[in-house]
């Protein structure tokens, strides 16, 4: 296992800049998630680390060793491809044995067998070992593909949306399994996903990418609680954060076209700010300061999302369990002033308080 450092990596595909001056360090034993929308450059970052893609400028270091010229085979990484990449015409067992049988590793057959059975058990594919890979379902192939990575003890696991083709149930259980494997083996893992829930639940640290730029790097808590930009704030958290344009009036911030206004935070903010309020910080109470009407109710069982119309703005609020509120009912609510986010006109977080 090892540290990996990317330094000022830039990668272009013809006119498109996939990665623009990307710098970060992945620590030994860390579960590092690259999160971002489609086309953000997550997969490209992973491929640059693996050496499958050569960066146009910048450097990749493995344990402080400059690795730009080292071919993929010698970087000793395991890669779980989004398209599974299983070898056709080979059984599941042979697929799993394959990386271990490489002449560069020389693993004895007995050990190969133990390792494969161990990995197969973890991934619940023991009954598939004799099958040909062409006859597996998408979810089974995905698990075999993960298996091919975890039979090895590489310096780093690189996983490109490995859970994206699974059904929801399996995704959830494999998410837990992967995190467990990572924690018990203490393996360095770089995990690409566009699913914020995967990112928040699994990561030690998250790097949020968009259009080839790193928007923010931090722990899941940092990312959720102190989003660096409106893009990060919107990407993380369901339901989405409420973003409300405000104007300053008599020492208060008044949300445009609405009844909501709050005190100007200590430390001051620019003239025009976007106010960000997480749905859980919009609280319905009998004697709340603001009033609105219930415009839509989305029951999710464990909690309920309420769309509250307040003037021209609609705020999302999340309440635990079922709700007694009815559609079009007038309600009063409060916003928790200790958990507010402020962004300037460019969408960058304004540090306050």
């Amino acid at each position: 296992m090892s540290n990996i450092r990317l330094e000022n990596i830039t990668k272009r595909f013809r006119e498109v800049t996939a990665l623009n001056d990307v710098t970060f360090t992945i620590k030994d034993g860390e579960f590092f998630v690259l999160l971002g929308p489609t086309g953000a450059g997550k997969t490209t970052t992973l491929r640059v680390i693996a050496g499958l893609e050569k960066q146009d400028s910048g450097h990749v270091y493995f344990d402080a060793e400059l690795s730009d010229q080292i071919p993929p085979a010698e970087r000793d990484v395991a890669f779980v491809f989004q398209q599974y990449s299983l070898y056709p015409n080979m059984s599941v067992y042979e697929n799993l044995a394959f990386p271990l049988r490489s002449p560069l590793r020389q693993t004895p057959e007995a050990e190969i067998k133990t390792r494969i059975h161990h990995a197969a058990e973890k991934l619940r594919i023991s009954h598939l070992l004799e099958r040909k890979t062409g006859k597996l379902s998408g979810g089974e192939m995905q698990r075999v593909s993960i298996g091919r990575a975890i039979v090895r003890e590489p310096r780093v696991f690189l996983m490109d949306e490995p859970l994206s083709n699974l059904d929801a149930k399996l995704r959830e259980s494999l998410r837990v399994e992967l995190k467990h494997i990572q924690k018990t083996q203490n393996s360095t893992t770089v995990f690409v996903t566009h699913d914020q829930i995967e990112a928040l639940t699994m990561a030690d640290r998250i790097a949020v990418l968009d259009e080839g730029h790193i928007l923010q790097i931090g722990t899941p808590f940092d990312i959720y609680d102190r989003p660096a930009t409106t893009a990060v704030a919107q990407l993380v958290g369901t339901p989405k954060i409420n973003l409300l344009p405000t104007v300053r009036q008599n020492g208060s911030l008044v949300v445009q076209n609405s009844t909501v206004q709050i005190n100007t935070p200590a430390g001051g903010v620019p003239e025009e700010v976007l106010l960000g309020v997480r749905p859980e910080d919009v609280k319905l109470t009998e004697n709340g300061r603001f009033n609105g009407t219930v415009a839509l109710i989305e029951p999710l069982g464990v909690e309920t999302i309420l769309h509250i119309q307040a003037g021209g703005q609609t705020l999302l609020s999340i309440v635990p369990g079922a709700t007694t509120h009815r559609l079009n009912e007038a309600v009063r609510f409060d916003v928790s002033e200790t958990h507010l986010h402020f962004f300037d006109a460019q969408g960058v977080r304004v540090q306050s308080g």
Partner: protein, 314 residues
Amino acid sequence: MAQTSTDITSLQSSQATRQPRQRQMSDLRIMQLFILPTVILLILMNIFPLIYSLYLSFTNYSVIADKAPEWIGIQNYTTILSDQRFWANFATTGRYALISVILQTLIGFGLALLLRNKFKGSGLVTTLILVPMMLSPIVVATFWKLMFNPSLGIFNYLLGYTDINTSPLWLGDPNLALWAIVIVDVWMWSPFVMLLCLAGLSAIPEYLYEAAAIDRASAWFQFRRITLPQVMPLLLIAVLFRTIEAFKQFDLVMGLTSGGPGDVTETVSIRLYKLAFQGQYDTGMSSALAYIILIIIIAVSNLYIRSLNKARGA
């Protein structure tokens, strides 16, 4: 009111009279009409000759003799199968087909591997390589006959022979004549194998090689476990086509050597031609020979198709 009701009845009656005139053909009828010309052609040109020649193969009959076919049972077949020269014809054909198909497969596949990665002008090069395949075999045979010519041909010159007394007689030497035909056939048909292999290669996803690189697979392993199995179905189709064609090989041999010198390049189809359309015009015997060739080709094709299905199923 009465006026309108008569209008309606007259309208209905006119519709009723129009309907049978505008009679619509059923879909089945239309289908049959479209298929009919092909079926008639097939029956006249393929099925009738097939059955009639099967009958003739059991008779003593010549199209130029003014005599009705005389039923002689399997005598034509026993004559053919006990005649040394026929066996020699089959041996020649088999040797020719084997060498030719092996060389075409190796060269075609090799060319495909070389042309697989695009380079500047690779499209043009591919097209140029495909040209021989598009020529008429008899034109190819005539060109190569000139090129093989010991006194004015370019082939020996390119090989470095400048003295006509020592240079090889490609078409006249009994040891070389079959090889000469093989060379021309390989020149003409390797591009076909290449074309099919290129199609197969381009369908192999790049990520398989990436996974292999990550897994530290050797180049040989990548070729044997990824490239070869993925190309195999198309490669086998190419080999199947070429084998059938080689067994039927007629025009190249006819144009180059006509089966000579002596009968060293006399393939079964040349022999068939001589039997059917030269000398005695022995229609009965040649029908029997044609059936033997047909059975061999069906047998060989079946072997290929079986291995093709196996390659696909895996």
